[in-house]
């Protein structure tokens, strides 16, 4: 397959890169752009560790080709904290011990942010369904759900 030149926007910055036609966006982010926050868990869209948003839609970057994202607006975990200031979700994940090994965490944070952007006041069930595409083998999910609930409450009050 041939190479493709792509111009796009990632976390508000104009970015251009050359990738193979069959190269997943996740590999572009990690191997070509040095953005290693998005993780590869399964590579088949089951685990959510590579979650990013493209034009506001939550997707698995392992199931998107780099060649597809020309002209899109991509948000990754690297864009979540503003300089040294953590996003409320990041702070609450720490406060509620919602991570152990941490491999799933970037994906959970991106997915949780997408959830709260669409629904600032989700029920526990909505949170669990909203994050069903993210797998965590450490926490048992409960602490993650608590952290998202706390963040939703905090952000609604803000």
């Amino acid at each position: 397959m041939s190479s493709v030149h792509v111009t796009t926007t990632i976390n508000g910055d104009a970015v251009d890169f050359v990738c193979n036609a069959d190269e997943p966006l996740l590999d572009v982010l990690r191997n070509r752009l040095g953005m290693t926050g998005s993780k590869e868990g399964c590579g088949t869209g089951d685990c959510g560790a590579c979650s990013v948003t493209i034009d506001g839609r939550l997707v698995c970057s392992c199931l998107v080709l780099g060649a597809e994202v020309g002209g899109s607006k991509i948000e990754t975990i690297e864009g979540m904290a503003k300089a040294d200031v953590l996003h409320p979700l990041q702070k609450n994940f720490i406060a509620h011990a919602a991570l152990q090994c941490g491999i799933c965490t970037p994906g959970f944070l991106v997915a949780a942010k997408a959830l709260l952007d669409n629904n600032p006041n989700p029920s526990e069930e909505e949170i669990r369904f909203g994050l069903a595409g993210n797998l965590c083998r450490c926490t048992g999910y409960d602490k993650i759900v608590r952290a998202v609930q706390a963040t939703a409450k905090e952000m609604r009050g803000a």
Partner: protein, 273 residues
């Protein structure tokens, strides 16, 4: 482009199956055509004749469309049962249809709705019923170089609605063991004057059960009509035995789900039970 390629050519819309197969080495395409930026492929249009859903519209865009969700809640709930939010951000109903799975969650409600698809190819365009597309598990009627460009949903009469239910052994992120879609139109008195019932995962392709629809037409969904509906559904089943469900289980549950889906569709259409 697709027709001219001598090797293996694939359409890329959502990519939630294609990219997985490529990664696993199950397929090695010579050509992949991304259709998302072709005009009309990525939007939902409402017109006097109904809805036109482009082939590249992702699942999440269906539930975001208030008019579509109101007119065809069963179609939207079926499509939204596919995969996670991440998968919903990409996966398309046409992709679901063209996989040719009898257990496809996006398809039974389309068939119950009498939806059609526009097939576009080297010889021009043709419009066919959704149920004509899958011919056996994993196979469709599409010829080389042909793609589906859109789904067409008919205009909704007043007092009409639909519903889709599936059985899975967990709460989500699974594929139907049995599923049922029911589409109803009521008269002003609440009597069913049109019905269509489709069952998933109980035969090599999704079934349209005419006898089940007949059982409902003319009724107000009384117990006897529902009983006849369930019996007709079970009688139509030709399922397989596998680790996910036995023949006996699928046959029985098909009737149960159809009955429940009919009740939901009836209430949504404004009927009182």
């Amino acid at each position: 482009m697709l027709a001219k390629e001598k090797g293996l050519a694939f359409v890329l819309a959502g990519g939630t199956d294609l990219l997985v197969k490529m990664k696993a080495g199950m397929i090695e395409p010579d050509l992949v055509v991304d259709i998302k930026k072709i005009k009309g492929m990525a939007d939902i249009k409402k017109s006097a004749t109904g809805f036109r859903i482009g082939a590249a519209v992702p699942g999440v865009a269906l539930s975001e469309n208030a008019a579509l969700s109101k007119a065809w809640p069963g179609i939207v709930e079926g499509a939204n049962l596919i995969g996670s939010k991440q998968v919903q951000g990409r996966c398309t109903m046409i992709g679901n249809l063209c996989n040719g799975s009898p257990a496809a969650d996006g398809v039974p409600a389309l068939i119950a709705a009498r939806a059609k698809v526009v097939v576009s190819g080297p010889k021009g365009k043709r419009t066919i019923a959704v149920e004509q597309v899958p011919v056996s598990p994993g196979r469709t009627c599409l010829k080389k170089g042909e793609i589906i460009e859109a789904i067409l949903l008919p205009k909704r009469p007043p007092r009409s609605s639909d519903a889709y239910l599936r059985f899975i052994p967990r709460t989500e992120m699974d594929i139907a063991v049995v599923s049922a879609a029911v589409n109803l139109v009521l008269d002003p008195k609440g009597v069913v004057n049109d019905a269509r019932v489709a069952l998933g995962a109980v035969a090599p392709t999704i079934l349209v059960v005419a006898d089940a629809a007949k059982a409902l037409i003319g009724s107000k969904l009384d117990a006897a009509a529902l009983e006849k509906l369930a019996a007709a559904c079970s009688a139509a089943c030709r399922p397989i035995d596998d680790k996910r469900g036995t023949i006996e289980f699928r046959t029985k549950v098909a009737g149960v789900l159809a009955r429940r889906a009919a009740e939901i569709a009836y209430r949504r259409a404004g009927g009182k039970l």
